[in-house]
């Protein structure tokens, strides 16, 4: 883990508000900061609607961001993009999506899907070079060369997700945003994809922004984790820090809710409850507090001090 090096991506106080109408807007992301370093996996967890996907999409500039600064490879990508910046952003940052079927154009064959990025940026070269690149990548993600002429509908879910990865990989990206990239897959296939992603990371030193709500997978794959709630980053740190010493009550409830594949204990466990409304917390008031190392938690000084006193591991075990 190269925490000494320059961050690959740095997100500073990102705000993303959606205007629903003249009087009303959704603060989907409300002042979130984090860094991702080259070659690491940053996991983003949180309940549905907490703004995970929004962060992912803002970072890759599918949205015009409301406020904040995003830097990628040292370039500011939060405002209007100039040509070279666009080029860098669109090639070096790639995304893989949740629904393996919906993320592939059903009317294009594998060759065209995978080579799409090359085509857009005019990097395809000759027809043969293009085909060679595609074949190479296909093999890399564990698909046979013969698949190049097929259409997405002729693949199973896991294979389609491999195609999605191949499409991103062909651009030699340095950061891949994986938004729920495995949550639509079966357990056994999930493992195949996660393994593939890990292998690729080892080979190419690509960094991942891994968005998911399945904590056990996130824990397995991530180096560092950010916990998101209602558009706020309420806790962030290394995987170890978060899981062994969760500070924030929301983080605790989240961890305690993970079902353990262990029949003996699971029957007895009761998940912690957390309800923002009744918790008396106000995220707007809080600020980031350092726990230790790279472990930060959002809250007022009083709250944080209060939380630190508890035995966090014990809570999470959730034995009634």
């Amino acid at each position: 883990m190269a925490s000494v090096s320059e961050p690959l991506l740095s997100v500073e106080n990102l705000k993303q508000h959606f205007k629903v109408n003249r009087h009303y807007s959704v603060k989907a992301v409300d002042g979130v900061s984090f860094n991702i370093y080259p070659g690491e996996t940053y996991g983003l967890v949180g309940e549905s609607g907490s703004g995970k996907s929004t962060i992912g999409r803002s970072v890759i500039r599918l949205h015009e961001i409301t406020d904040g600064e995003i830097r990628f490879k040292g370039l500011d990508i939060s405002n209007k993009l100039d040509k070279p910046t666009t080029e860098t952003l669109r090639t070096k940052m790639q995304m893989i999506f949740q629904d393996p079927m919906a993320s592939l154009n059903p009317r294009k064959n594998v060759m065209d899907i995978v080579a799409h990025g090359l085509d857009i940026h005019g990097k395809a070269g000759s027809k043969k070079e293009r085909a060679d690149r595609v074949m190479e990548i296909l093999e890399r993600v564990g698909l046979s060369r013969e698949f190049a002429g097929r259409f997405p509908s002729q693949f199973s879910g896991g294979q389609r997700q491999r195609l999605g990865i191949a499409r991103a990989l062909i651009m030699n990206p340095e950061l891949i945003i994986a938004d729920e990239a495995i949550s639509a897959l079966d357990v056994s296939i999930q493992a195949q994809i996660v393994n593939l992603m890990k292998e690729i990371q080892e080979e190419t030193n690509v960094a991942y922004l891994f968005i998911a709500h399945d904590l056990s997978m996130v824990r397995y794959i991530s180096d560092r984790i950010g916990v998101l709630h209602l558009g706020h980053m309420i806790e962030t740190g290394t995987t170890e820090e978060i899981f062994s010493n969760p500070i924030h009550p929301y983080t605790k409830s989240l961890i305690s809710a993970i079902p353990h594949p262990n029949s003996a204990i699971e029957k007895k466990r009761v998940a912690l409850t957390y309800d923002y409304e009744s918790s008396g917390l106000d995220y707007e008031q809080g600020s980031q507090h350092l726990v230790e190392g790279s472990h930060f938690v959002l809250g007022t000084a009083v709250e944080v001090a209060e939380w630190m006193k508890q035995d966090n591991q014990e809570d999470v075990l959730g034995l009634s």
């Binding site: 666009t86 952003l89 993320s103 154009n105 009317r107 294009k108 799409h116 990025g117 002729q154």
Partner: protein, 345 residues
């Protein structure tokens, strides 16, 4: 538990995973369109529709050449003759006689018998009041109707599709304005506009086609817009955007191929519409210029003889109804086969 199968030690040898290869054949190699054709083909209605359309189109092409008469040839003495078909006349069907319900009683007449040299004359569908062969005219009319439908559909697809896609893709203010304009266009009753337009443009084939095309695309643009709205949020469009694809390539290369079949189906529904509008115009008196004929103008022309010479209106109505039925059945079948919202059954 044991049965006849030989459970030797040989059978109980580990063979390890052989999996990866067998996966490939599990997912069919067949291209999507082949599957689709298969599905459509299993729908009897759409097959019937398709065959009928081919048949009618063929007849529209060849029919006018088959009878030996010109579509606008008025043969004096041949006015209002009932259908007479060789062979069938032998069994008493279509032998050229008709029953006139005059006020002084019923009268069976056979003009072929009273006509000089009439025994060798055959008008398969009969003739109209001006002595023109209805077989020729019916297929000639089909030709024109099909032409109108075709042109209308092409315009429909081009205008409606582009409008809808642009409106849906850009969304926001562009969409609001475009939709407002649409609402206004839609607010003017289309029959009124069509009639006005034709009168302004001088009645004629071109103006009719133009008027139908200009007013018929709204439904199409709606569908295109709705599909665009749905698809522009889809992950593969997002994927294209994250890779830096530009707006128009996205619209035409990513989205269009995926909604095209749907639009095509929609346009099939608009074919009957166009044919029908033309028929309405014929009824109002500003249809196709005489002596040309369309199915619509034939129907409204021969309608005037409905209670006198019933047989005159039958061929155009029949072809018209068949054409409508066929297009509808085919479109229905295609939709059932292609539209994922209607689950496969």
């Amino acid at each position: 538990m044991d049965n006849s199968i030989n459970k030797t030690a040989e059978s109980f040898k580990f063979i390890g995973t052989t999996g990866v290869l067998t996966i490939e054949e599990d997912y069919s190699e067949e291209a999507r369109w082949k599957q689709m054709i298969k599905r459509v083909a299993r729908n009897k209605g759409s097959v019937f529709g398709f065959v009928m359309i081919i048949f009618i189109s063929f007849m529209a092409f060849a029919g006018p050449l088959m009878s030996g008469y010109e579509f606008d040839q008025q043969i004096s003495g041949h006015e209002s003759m009932a259908p007479r078909i060789p062979l069938l006349e032998k069994v008493g069907l279509f032998d050229g006689s008709e029953t006139l319900k005059t006020s002084t009683g019923e009268l069976v007449v056979n003009k072929y018998e009273t006509l000089a040299g009439g025994e060798d004359v055959y008008h398969w569908f009969g003739t109209d009041v001006l002595g023109r062969d209805l077989f020729t005219r019916t297929w000639m009319g089909t030709r024109i109707s099909l032409y109108i439908a075709l042109v209308a559909v092409i315009a429909d697809v081009l205008i409606g599709m582009t409008y809808g896609m642009v409106s849906g893709y850009y969304g926001g203010r562009v969409d609001t304005i475009m939709q407002r304009v649409l609402e206004i266009i839609n607010g003017i009753p289309s029959l009124v506009v069509v009639t006005l337009l034709i009168i302004i443009l001088k009645p004629g084939l071109l103006s009719i086609t133009l008027a139908i095309a200009l007013t018929g695309w709204i439904g199409m643009s709606r569908i295109a817009r709705a599909s665009m709205l749905k698809l522009k949020e889809s992950e593969y469009v997002l994927a294209a955007r994250t890779m830096g694809a530009k707006d128009f390539p996205i619209m035409y290369k990513e989205v269009l191929p995926n909604i095209f079949s749907q639009l095509l189906i929609m346009s099939m529904f608009s074919i009957p519409n166009a044919i029908f509008t033309e028929a309405f115009l014929a009824f109002v008196g500003i249809g196709i210029p005489v002596p040309m004929a369309s199915l619509g103008s034939l129907i409204s022309e021969n309608f005037k003889s409905l209670t006198t010479h019933f047989y005159m209106i039958v061929p155009p109505v029949l072809v018209f109804a068949l054409l409508m039925l066929s297009f509808n059945l085919l479109a229905d079948g295609l939709r059932d086969a292609l539209d994922p919202t209607l689950k496969e059954v």
